[in-house]
Symmetry: C2
Subunit: 218 residues, 2 copies
């Protein structure tokens, strides 16, 4: 059975990427990161999603003590969706590069053929590490810098939602049976979604445009 | 003052890279990794070298529970220098990619302009993640996937020892005043260097060819 590593954040994008990988017949091992994010609640969500999908998961704890992001530093305000130009201050320096590197190490050690990540079009309007050109560069790192890559069996970085917006992802996830009720998106990570941060904003907009009600809404 | 992150392992290559960066006028912050390596002793060596050079250092602890290397798994024998073809089993899946990713995150968060790594010619005869083409690919990851890289001030990956062999590095380090007596190379990480592993073998050969005696020899 072909094997893959799935980066699972606990949000709806990566959950959809997981269910897509499963639908393609991959055996999936989920990699969940505890990197000091203020919305640590997403880690619990990710665990529940992995269990629901009957997939093994590992939690990797890493420290990024140098900060540089409002997702890591609670003293920095989360800038609202409409209040900025360019790269949001929720950008975490080199985060996806770090996450992919660990997934790559895992994939190489166990002989997995693919890494799935749920990055998509709306992300890469702001985050540089969600853009197609970044993923292409990372692919080149694999073929030049790993034993698997320079050998006969390389590892593919799969970004299946790359060209989709949130409502398209929600429609796709709905078809695939993604347990959206278990997902967590809010950056604030309080008891309830704040409804104001970027992540809440795009989630609500996505469900509205897809014509579904959000099953996680309490 | 221009600032840099130096990946410091505790071995003589990275110590030389540090002293080279200092000689170029960089303010250096050393990044030391505790990644479960069997030669944990090198971490203590790295700390001593950073202190000697009067540089700040951070120790980053990461877990690579999937193993896949004789440096991580003591049940695997360290293959001797002449006993293999191709990539040694001391290769740790995606290790340098992970290390560089953390250095990149740190550099981006504090606005450092460069990352120094002590990889060199003898390494890349075996390790894919020490080859020039890998570092070029990683450079492309920075320019496509980070805020610093897509903006006006990117971050350079500096591999100043790339084309040098061990004896050339030792000669250079000697000129720069590298405290070789504090460095640790042996993969086994026992009380004394084993004298048999790849790392001991190349160190001894390097000192012999450079015409120096190894000040760490007890």
């Amino acid at each position: 059975m072909k094997s893959s590593i799935v980066l699972l954040s606990g949000g709806l994008d990566s959950a959809t990427a997981l269910y897509l990988a499963l639908s393609e017949g991959y055996q999936c091992r989920c990699l969940i990161f505890d990197y000091g994010q203020r919305h640590r609640r997403e880690i619990e969500a990710a665990k529940k999603i992995a269990r629901k999908a009957k997939c093994a998961y590992s939690i990797v704890k890493i420290a990024l003590p140098w900060g540089g992001s409002s997702l890591l530093d609670k003293k920095l305000a989360l800038k609202p969706a409409s209040g900025y130009q360019g790269i949001p201050n929720t950008y975490v320096p080199a985060r996806n590069i770090i996450l992919l590197s660990f997934a790559l190490s895992y994939a190489e050690a166990i002989g997995a053929k693919a890494i799935f990540i749920g990055a998509h079009a709306q992300d890469y309007s702001g985050y540089p590490d969600c853009r197609p050109e970044f993923f292409r560069s990372f692919g080149k790192v694999i073929t030049t810098g790993t034993k698997a890559g320079v050998g006969k069996r390389s590892i593919a970085v799969r970004v299946p939602l790359q060209n989709k917006n949130k409502s398209q992802i929600i429609k796709l996830g709905n078809k695939l049976g993604v347990p959206f009720e278990l997902t967590w998106s809010c950056y604030k990570g309080g008891g309830k979604p704040c409804g104001k941060c970027d992540s809440c904003y795009y989630r609500a907009k996505g469900f509205k445009e897809a014509g579904f009600s959000d099953p996680a809404k309490r």
